[in-house]
């Protein structure tokens, strides 16, 4: 039946070349762990992406219960963690995945560094990768405040002090991130907006550029 549906669509839209172009590409022997087990180091980029997808999905589901409001934020997190079925699992995925994505990204960066894959003609992809790294750090930073517990509150206080220590423009940066003078209602909504809309949007655009470039330029050669 599925083949029938596929053929019906393919006759009209000619979709076969599209997915062929995305999916059919050669995996060189030196990056295939089936040939050389040590080639598993080439999996870290894909693993980073896999966890990123999990982060996006679990995050989408968390917003079904979470409210970015200083009176209700902690209560809503408490509720979804302890009262909602599989709440501990879904929030756990997002919580632990956040750390794991940083670890995987770091390992991926190390692999790229030690195989020299950042060299010409792939310099732009290294730069885009670095931008992704900073977006990920931003996501971790803004997500940390959202449960609105003591740890989140004081971590954000520290963050703002760091931002404030920038010469000359520091106080303005801090006010802009903080959304005012007190770490409070406006800080929480601001961090929520940045965490859920702004940074993921930038992340998806950068990931698209990252993947486009690796397909265009191919995987770097063996050592």
């Amino acid at each position: 039946m599925f083949k029938g549906i596929y053929n019906w669509i393919d006759e009209r839209l000619d979709i076969t070349p599209m997915w062929r172009d995305v999916a059919d590409h050669e995996v060189p022997e030196h990056v295939n762990p089936a040939h050389h087990f040590s080639a598993f180091v080439y999996c870290f980029g894909g693993l980073t992406f896999f966890i990123t997808v999990i982060q996006i999905l679990s995050g989408m589901f968390l917003t079904m219960y979470y409210v970015p409001d200083i009176i209700n934020a902690y209560a809503s997190v408490d509720y979804l963690q302890h009262k909602v079925a599989f709440g501990a699992i879904v929030r756990g995925m997002h919580h632990w995945g956040a750390s794991l994505v940083i670890v995987m990204m770091f390992l991926h960066t190390l692999r790229v560094f030690f195989t020299g894959s950042y060299k010409a003609p792939r310099e732009m992809n290294w730069v885009v990768g670095m931008l992704i790294f900073f977006i990920m750090l931003g996501l971790g930073l803004t997500g940390y405040l959202l449960p609105w517990d003591n740890k989140a509150y004081f971590a954000t206080k520290v963050t703002l002090s760091i931002a404030e220590s920038v010469p000359y423009i520091g106080p303005y940066i801090a006010t802009l991130i903080n959304g005012g003078e007190v770490v409070g209602a406006q800080t929480l909504t601001r961090f929520f907006a940045i965490h859920v809309f702004f940074l993921p949007g930038a992340l998806l655009a950068l990931l698209a550029a990252h993947f486009f470039m690796i397909r265009k330029q191919g995987i770097s050669g063996p050592l």
Binding site: I70, F154, K157, V158, Y172, T175, L176, N178, G179, G180, E181, V182, G184, A185, Q186
Partner: protein, 176 residues
């Protein structure tokens, strides 16, 4: 020779600096696009940076305690301030350590440690110093940082009216 050249140049058609049709169209379309994009984006940017441009509220003074109760030994006083955070108004309780200096002038110190923001306490080590339990920062009675902390304790703006002490916004220490 030069005369000849001059005549040659005079025969050439006048080169007018006119814009090609293509250039005109790309300028017009580019300008219209920039105008429309600006019209869409500028309100959002102004919306986002509003906290930077709103007037900071003048710090108000709150009545805390009678001046006569203040001694050379720092004492802890609590008082409530009215705080407006966008749509959320609250009355958080603040703490001040108030004492007199050697000239008898009253001053009030903030209890927030300048190291990493824990809450300091007076004379818990019996050494007539402020002490922070988190990383053992120490301060003199005037708030001078003696150990660990990088800066002296902040001070509250203070005024005395009709024998009562009023505390205002926090400022850097003026005693040391």
């Amino acid at each position: 020779m030069s005369n000849h050249e001059h005549r040659e140049a005079a025969h050439q058609p006048v080169k007018r600096k006119e814009m090609s049709r293509r250039q005109f169209l790309s300028y017009t379309l580019g300008g219209a696009t920039a105008f429309m994009a600006g019209g869409a984006v500028l309100p959002m940017i102004r919306f986002a940076v509003d906290p930077l441009l709103t007037q900071k509220t003048e710090g108000t003074f709150v009545k805390v305690v009678e001046e006569s109760k203040i001694t050379n030994e720092p004492q802890e006083f609590r008082f409530q301030v009215h705080q407006v955070d966008g749509w959320y108004e609250s009355d958080p309780e603040l703490t001040a350590w108030i004492s007199r200096d050697q000239q008898g002038n009253v001053f009030a110190l903030s209890p927030v440690c300048k190291h990493l923001g824990c809450t300091i306490n007076w004379n818990t080590q019996n050494d007539n110093q402020y002490f922070c339990p988190c990383h053992e920062a120490k301060y003199s009675p005037e708030g001078k940082n003696l150990a660990v902390a990088p800066a002296p304790l902040d001070e509250y703006d203070l005024k005395i009216e009709d024998g009562f002490i009023y505390l205002g916004p926090i400022k850097p220490n003026t005693k040391v």
